[in-house]
């Protein structure tokens, strides 16, 4: 069902990314998402990026019309949201390694704060690293990876994950990020014999498991996901390969 919430604070996470906090009493689990109405423009799915009792947040990267409009919001402004939707992460899967890539870091952050598990935050460059302060406040081990080496490990999330999995004993990787990152992360986890739960993304309309437009093979990202484990992902032939556009047409990634 939908609710109207009032933005209490806005935090600049990076030059193009802001977190919007609001009071919302709905029960939400790490890994779930909400639909955000941008009146006159759009309605878009956004991962819940913070769960602190009744205070929830979303973290938005300005990449299109709707997200740029959200960036104009200031404390006191109203937001109409609906949800939470989706299954969320299973936090009881043993010793966890959290991995966020780019703005996907926002989707794993509630799992980081809930568990204090070891965390990798990956980004293109130092300027794109987000929410490392929150992760550091809850977790003893937070590692940064940047593609250009401007901060932390010089390389991508999958490369750093391989190092950390070799050093530590993890049962399961929880991750969200660009699909190409998740695709190679899944392959690496299969190779290393480690479980994973990946938060996936597709174009959505209803968000509630009705319209079927966000399906990957026969699975609805909004309702059966957005988090899928190894066994489920192994059956998704479209993962890392293709997506459906607004018309339902198949669009290959490469």
């Amino acid at each position: 069902m939908s609710d109207v919430v009032i933005i209490e604070s806005v935090v600049e996470e990076a030059y193009d990314t802001k977190t919007f906090r609001f009071r919302w009493s709905a029960e939400a689990r790490p890994g779930q998402f909400i639909m955000i109405w941008v009146p006159g423009l759009d309605e878009i799915p956004m991962s819940i990026s913070g769960i602190d009792g009744d205070v929830k947040s979303i973290t938005v990267k300005a990449i299109g019309g709707a997200t740029r409009r959200i960036h104009e919001l200031v404390p006191g402004d109203r937001l109409r949201i609906r949800g939470p939707y989706g299954n969320g992460f299973d936090l009881s899967a043993g010793r966890l390694l959290m991995i966020g890539g780019g703005v996907g870091t926002a989707a794993v952050m509630p799992a980081v704060t809930a568990t204090g598990a070891d965390t990798i935050i990956a980004a293109r460059s130092d300027a794109d690293v987000i929410m490392d302060d929150i992760a550091t406040a809850h977790s003893d081990n937070v590692w940064i990876a940047t593609d250009d080496g401007s901060r932390g490990f010089h390389g991508n999330a999958v490369q750093l994950m391989r190092e950390k999995v070799a050093e530590g004993e993890y049962d399961c990787v929880l991750a969200c990020g660009p699909e190409v990152m998740l695709y190679f992360m899944y392959k690496a986890c299969e190779e290393l014999g480690i479980r994973c739960q990946l938060s996936l993304e597709r174009y959505m309309k209803c968000g509630a498991g009705v319209c079927g437009c966000c399906v990957m093979d026969d699975s609805r990202i909004c309702r059966d996901g957005p988090v899928f484990d190894n066994d489920q992902i192994s059956k998704l032939t479209e993962f890392g390969v293709s997506k459906r556009d607004e018309c339902g047409r198949t669009v290959k990634f490469r």
Binding site: G209, C211, D217, G248
Partner: protein, 305 residues
Amino acid sequence: MPSDMVSLKTDVGSLRLERPGMVASGIMDETGPSMVRMIENGAGAVVTKSVGLQPNSGHANPCFMEVTGGYVNAMGLPNPGIDLFAEEMEVAVPAGPIVGSVYGSTPDDFSVLAARMEDYGASAVELNLSCPHAKGYGMEVGTDPAMVSAIVSAVKSAVSIPVWAKLTPNTHILPQIGRAVQDAGGDAVVAINTLKAMVISPEFARPVLSNRFGGLSGAAVKPVGVRAVYDLASVLDIPLIGVGGISDWRDAAEYIMAGASAFQVGSAIGTVGIDVFQGINEGLATFMEDYGYGSISSMVGVAHE
């Protein structure tokens, strides 16, 4: 589990269904694999997303909203177009009966689309004469008996599979439209589509849906649908398919007793889940055994007697 004393098989004219509940058009039926999943989860057939001549992205978001008793949606008939839909049908058809839903604005459009669905292996074709939120389509062509008659006649001469017409409750002349379908040779009437509806946000002082209005579905519309089927059964001889707010066996039994030979489920795939058909099938079989109905056909229209 109920014994083998009762059968859930039903005939919609010449089409035999192993189970009486189908997936209604527009829900989990845009892609081949999702249709296969619904058949595997107990649906007797799947009606496809309504497909048109060209790819259509539908209305902008928001196009969906949860309300008390159901959903209001204005998807706006998103679909990949009839050419590309061949790929989805190729995957879906081997799994079970697939009914091809099509929309157009002229009798010619409908004939071309229906013939393609027949080529793709559809068990029947369902004419969308009832979508309430697509300009120039749906109920805009489906509330004029002369137009309905022209469309059904044209499609009947273009295909040999059964032709079903899905009608709108947003009219005061539903029985006349039903009669137009029957007189033009239509094989079955499907009722109802969604009720034209609107949701306004008081805080933002504007309609929530980008299209402003949409269609109401779900539990709230069930009594309207049952009445519509009852009215149609009073004037028609061709089979009826009931749809609107069905989520359990009681709802399904109401539609059957009002005169429906089969039924469709849409919103409950969201509210209840993918396994909604299993619950309905088991509940219906138990009810039929307890109350002495050996077959679906023995229950059809009994509320009229």
